[in-house]
């Protein structure tokens, strides 16, 4: 969270935006601050609709659209809204975006709409969707906010696909509906049921934490390796 707290372009001062910095707003959500694996936000849809990869992708894209739209609109009006009523304003903007998505998904595919069920309207109360306008869009320019929303949404989608893959492959023996294992595969139904959601998310979190710790240790080792010869020369 330390990155976006820096007051970038807060009062409309002409800050020269380097392309690298703009890209950072996008890639930040994808990996470094992945909403699910790092920030542990938006748990309800993460656990509830990841029992198939198709649902996970649909949910991820719907959420991406909502975050990007809400971020953009909030950033547009960020100087007009008084501080006291900002949360209420954000929620109204988000609810409008979600209503649009609700009808959009219904129009595109009624099967997906039925599979996601109440979880499309429930995007409104996804903590991630409220957190981004509050933490990022209310302090940054429109372009950056939309990019940030897009990146966060993609990170969210990525996490949902990770979970959905594990649950669908183990629980049903299929991936996007295609059979992965032979006909003798006995599906591990537990992974399609609620406990499977908790277990697979816990496993993904463990994997992620272990990987991050390992790479941090390796980075530290490399840095000490680089500084050691320099110190020898100096002495």
């Amino acid at each position: 969270m330390s990155h976006e707290q820096t007051p970038v372009a807060c009062h409309g001062t002409s800050v020269s935006e380097s392309p690298g910095e703009t890209m950072l707003a996008f890639t930040n959500g994808l990996w470094k601050q992945n909403p699910v694996f790092v920030m542990v936000l938006g748990m309800c849809p993460t656990l509830a609709i990841t029992n198939s990869v198709r649902n996970a992708i649909a949910m991820g894209l719907a959420t991406t659209f909502v975050i990007a739209t809400a971020n953009g609109l909030v950033s547009l009006i960020r100087k007009l809204v008084p501080k006291q009523v900002r949360i209420a304003t954000f929620i109204l903007i988000i609810a409008t975006a979600v209503t649009v998505v609700d009808y959009l998904v219904k129009a595109i595919s009624i099967n997906v709409y039925k599979a996601l069920g109440p979880f499309i309207p429930l995007i409104v109360s996804n903590c991630l969707v409220l957190e981004r306008p509050e933490a990022f869009a209310s302090k940054n320019t429109v372009g950056k906010s939309v990019l940030d929303g897009f990146g966060m949404g993609m990170g969210f989608t990525f996490a949902l696909i990770c979970l959905g893959t594990v649950r669908e492959v183990l629980g049903a023996g299929t991936f996007l509906g295609f059979h992965v294992f032979g006909p003798n595969f006995e599906p591990w139904v537990l992974f399609l049921l609620p406990p499977g959601g908790f277990i697979s998310l816990a496993m993904w979190l463990l994997t992620f934490t272990a990987w991050r710790q390992w790479s941090a240790r390796r980075k530290l080792a490399r840095e000490t390796e680089q500084t050691m010869p320099a110190m020898e020369v100096a002495s």
């Binding site: 309800c44 309207p121 609620p194 277990i199 979190l205 463990l206």
Partner: protein, 194 residues
């Protein structure tokens, strides 16, 4: 589909427990369940907000249907919930400042609790009558409170044991929730008999 009041109650409380079987209210379930004393307070305030907003949104839905403005449903529901949370906050601050101090920071969080929004949405989509939706709201929020209390007690126990450093925090809570959820799966059989 059995729509008797008793069936709705048991179904929302145990068989389709909001937290452990339908995955609603996850954020607060994982975030505020560290201590038993805060967990049951959070549960009770969520119960209050859910019941009030369920009654209010039932009335609003009747109006919306009469004026053919169903597309406004989601927006009105979220406004009702936000207003209820705000009112609860003001009410508790006036009547019991001590309770307000202990519960103060959790109250605004209730607005973004998906369990609160889900109750009005479910009661609308299932066409519950007024009494049915009232019972449904109490049972669903009761199920949330029960799950919160059980998990917080488990977490207080596990805090004393020696867990690998890697697994501490959210991953451990999720594994505990998984075991709890497996236990609640046992209730699924109750639905077929009744």
């Amino acid at each position: 589909m059995n729509d008797s009041l008793g069936h709705i109650f048991v179904d929302a409380l145990l068989i389709n427990n909001f937290v452990l079987c339908v995955f609603l209210g996850m954020c607060s379930f994982l975030g505020v369940s560290g201590k038993f004393s805060t967990a049951w307070r959070m549960g009770l305030s969520v119960m209050f907000v859910i019941t009030v907003s369920s009654v209010l949104s039932f009335g609003t839905n009747v109006l919306l249907v009469r004026f053919h403005a169903e597309y406004l449903r989601l927006i009105t529901y979220i406004v009702i919930i936000a207003a209820t949370v705000q009112l609860t906050e003001m009410f508790i601050r006036k009547t019991s400042p001590a309770l307000f101090r202990t519960m103060g920071i959790y109250l605004p969080l209730i607005t973004t609790n998906c369990a609160v929004l889900a109750v009005p949405l479910f009661q609308t989509s299932r066409n519950y009558s007024f009494v049915q939706s009232f019972v449904f709201a109490i049972a669903a929020s009761g199920g949330y409170t029960v799950a919160m209390m059980i998990l917080s007690l488990l977490r207080e126990r596990v805090e004393l044991s020696d867990v690998p450093e890697l697994a501490r925090g959210t991953a451990l809570t999720l594994l505990l929730a998984a075991i709890l959820s497996m236990a609640f799966m046992g209730f699924a059989g109750m639905g077929n008999g009744g």
